[in-house]
Amino acid sequence: MKGLVFSEMLGWAEHAYSPALVDRMIVQSGVPNDGAYTSVGNYPHGEALALFGALSELTGEPIGDLARAYGYWLAGRFVTLYPELVGVYPDAESLLAGVGPHIHEEVTRLYPEAQPPQVHSSPIEGGMQLDYVSHRPFAPLAHGLIEGFVAHFGNHHTIAREDLDAGGKAARFTISQISN
């Protein structure tokens, strides 16, 4: 899993809670590198799960909610960090439709070892459907990301999530335009 997800997660947790809590989360999770993550590295996704697990224990929040909140924050970071990728899309639907064929394609080209989830979009009446399939249980994280991008474009959509796998490895998101 890309190191960016880890480094940004520590930043989000410090921002959302406190550096002290993040310090405890790292110690409590038992991750092998003592939380020294670099955005250009690659780390096992199990470490992310361990970190989320420790944070849940420390805050009492469910892991899914934490991951969704982190996804929302991460979408904002993507807008800041990668304007050349995100900036070309005029609205949320076109960006979400471009995740699979464009954004993930670009990630794979830059980082051949990366294994992004499969995201397939299809238009529906008044919106679109987005199917998420991954070998990692991060459907809540994807949910948060979608919410973040929708918010970036002015919150003109509602988002409904239907889990297709109990472990969070597959889900269908229905993104519907909000009629004025």
């Binding site: 550096p19 790292i26 590198n33 003592d34 939380g35 020294a36 993550y37 670099t38 250009v40």
Partner: protein
């Protein structure tokens, strides 16, 4: 330090510890990032090197392919040009430049104008510049249409190259629209104009976003010249064919004229033969019958001269008829058993007196001719024609030899082929003229003319020998003296008749064993007298009638052993009389009938033979022939 530490509150201490851990994490992450960067840099450097190598490889490969393509263009004799329809710029391959006489002008640009100067149009002969200009304009518009419609390339919906003429979807053009043939000015001073064929294809290159015209250029001057030459040849052949057809028509007409003339000649010869033979029959027959006993020596000599002249006249007539038959392909051969030794002895012996009279020797010798087996005794041959050859050669030898003698040598040259040579010590024949003497009327010697020869004898011999499948020739005699005429003939061996039959044949020189009763039907009195005289000499009893009707009545009422029936008679002719005799009931219908005729051709004899005649005696009647004819039908 301890004092200072003691002064720091516990909360601050904890905060410091936290910050130290964060710093340690950041440093560790930075170190890891730097290590990763180092690895990535090396990977990048390697990739860069690989990229350079690949680019160089591609550059070399591209260079090779380009050279191959250009070489292929040169070998195939065409060049290529790509024209950007929007930018009005084109690129020409080197061979295209060479073909158009635009050396060094790889790139060409500018809007074409038929009136203005343009390097491309300037090369075109003035009267065809508008045509080329219109072609270029049409292609440019097509390409721009393609770009406007956004149809990339010229592929159909299944992504196959479209071949539909005037396709509205991909603007694939009809052949007539995309091809142009035009003349350019000769490539050097004094060189004639060249003929160029351009083939174009328009397309829209989606990647480059360009409307393009791809053109191949080919010099078809030789092709056109070859086509023109072929056309000229075809026209010449057609002209010749017409001439030949005309010639064939003329030849056919000429042949028909010749055939008519030939038929007329044949009829004339037949008539002449008949008309001459009839009086000749009288003259020669009477001379043969003339009893020379009691004549003075000078009278005897005159009689002999008359007989000799008569014989010559008869032989000349025979020669003319034979030649005519040979020319018209009517000369045919009979096939009867022949005893070679006796035949040759008799034939050669016939000339013994003539030789002796000139003081010449005449010998018959057996020879081997390189084939070590004796000549067979009996063969199948045409006695009359073989005798004709021997008579010609031997009589010539006697005629042209003043001193010395004549030797006739005979023997086999192969298992079924024999040769005979007539060698004289005469005046000889110059080598350069030996071929001529076998040609019709090919007399060599004035003495021949003086001797009354027709010049036909050897020509007839050659034709007879040809017919027999043999060869005839002449060379110098032994020691270069005189001539050696030779003949080689194939033969078929047969068993001879029994000795008893031969003996019987020899005995029947006269029909003495019970006189034969012969009826002669002949309208010409002279001929009747000759026939009666000769038959009398042969020991026959003779009855004479003057036409066919009398002949039929005579046969019906009398008992004849043989009938000599003239062909042409008043009241009832020979063929009809023969038919009527054959129709008489009873044994008399089987009376053998011999045609008596002055006609010599087979066609003229046919009516008699068809009617039932079984033998022929030609007029002028020769005693020997008459004897043989009667003997052959009276068993």
């Amino acid at each position: 330090m301890d004092a200072a530490a003691a002064m720091i509150p516990e909360e601050v201490e904890a905060e410091l510890a936290l910050l130290r851990r964060r710093l340690a994490r950041s440093e560790a992450a930075r170190a890891e990032a730097e290590a990763l960067l180092e690895v990535k840099s090396r990977v990048l450097a390697q990739a860069n090197e690989q990229l350079k190598a690949n680019r160089e490889h591609l550059r070399i490969e591209l260079g090779q392919r380009t050279r191959q393509l250009l070489e292929a263009q040169r070998v195939a004799g065409f060049g290529t040009m790509i024209w950007d329809a929007e930018a009005f710029k084109g690129e020409m391959s080197p061979h295209c430049q060479a073909l158009l006489g635009l050396h060094g002008l790889a790139a060409i640009d500018g809007v074409m104008s038929v009136d203005g100067s343009h390097p491309m149009l300037d090369r075109v002969v003035p009267e065809e510049r508008r045509k080329v200009f219109e072609f270029s304009k049409r292609l440019t518009i097509r390409a721009l249409e393609l770009k406007r419609s956004g149809v990339a390339g010229h592929k159909d919906t299944s992504h196959q190259v479209c071949t539909t003429e005037d396709c509205q979807t991909c603007a694939h053009m009809a052949d007539c629209d995309r091809m142009l043939e035009f003349r350019i000015i000769g490539l050097s001073d004094g060189e004639p104009n060249r003929m160029i064929r351009a083939l174009a294809e328009t397309s829209f290159d989606e990647d480059l976003g360009r409307a393009l015209v791809f053109i191949t250029v080919q010099d078809i001057t030789r092709e056109i010249e070859a086509a023109n030459e072929a056309d000229a040849l075809r026209q010449r052949d057609q002209r010749r064919m017409r001439e030949l057809e005309q010639l064939a028509v003329e030849l056919r007409a000429a042949r028909e004229v010749a055939e008519r003339a030939n038929a007329a000649k044949t009829r004339f010869l037949a008539m002449m033969s008949h008309d001459i033979r009839t009086p000749m029959n009288g003259v020669i027959g009477m001379l043969e019958l003339f009893d020379d006993a009691g004549l003075s020596e000078s009278q005897h000599e005159m009689l002999q001269l008359m007989r000799s002249s008569g014989d010559q006249l008869r032989m000349l007539l025979d020669d003319i008829i034979d030649l005519e038959q040979a020319e018209s392909g009517k000369l045919t051969l009979a096939a009867f058993p022949l005893e070679v030794g006796t035949f040759l002895g008799t034939s050669i012996g016939f000339w013994a007196r003539a030789a002796r009279n000139k003081g010449l020797t005449l010998q018959l010798e057996r020879a081997a001719f390189g084939y070590d087996r004796p000549l067979v005794e009996w063969i199948v041959a045409d006695r009359y024609r073989l005798r004709q050859i021997i008579d010609n050669l031997v009589s010539n030898a006697v005629k042209y030899t003043k001193r010395g003698g004549i030797v006739v040598r005979v023997g086999p040259v192969a298992e079924n082929r024999f040769r005979f040579e007539v060698i004289d010590t005469g005046i000889g024949i110059p080598p350069e003229r030996r071929a001529e003497i076998f040609v019709d009327f090919g007399q060599l010697h004035t003495v021949d003319v003086q001797a009354g020869g027709s010049g036909l004898g050897l020509a007839i011999c050659r034709r007879i020998v040809d017919l027999m499948g043999g060869t005839i020739g002449v060379e110098a005699g032994p020691g270069g003296i005189g001539s050696c005429f030779w003949v080689e003939l194939p033969f078929v061996e047969v068993d001879g008749p029994t000795a008893a039959k031969q003996k019987e044949e020899k005995r029947l020189r006269r029909f003495d064993g019970g006189r034969l009763r012969v009826l002669v039907a002949e309208d010409v009195e002279t001929n009747r007298i000759v026939a009666r005289g000769m038959l009398g000499k042969l020991g026959c009893d003779v009855d004479l009638v003057t036409n066919g009707e009398e002949a039929v009545e005579a046969v019906r009422n009398g008992q004849f052993d043989v009938v000599l029936m003239d062909m042409s008679m008043p009241v009832l002719d020979g063929p009809e009389a023969t038919r009527r005799i054959k129709a008489i009931p009873g044994a008399v219908s089987r009376t053998p009938i011999i045609a008596l005729t002055a006609y010599s051709g087979r066609a003229e004899l046919a009516p008699m033979m068809t009617a039932g005649a079984i033998g022929v005696v030609k007029k002028p009647i020769v005693l020997e022939e008459l004897y043989r004819a009667i003997r052959s039908v009276c068993h």
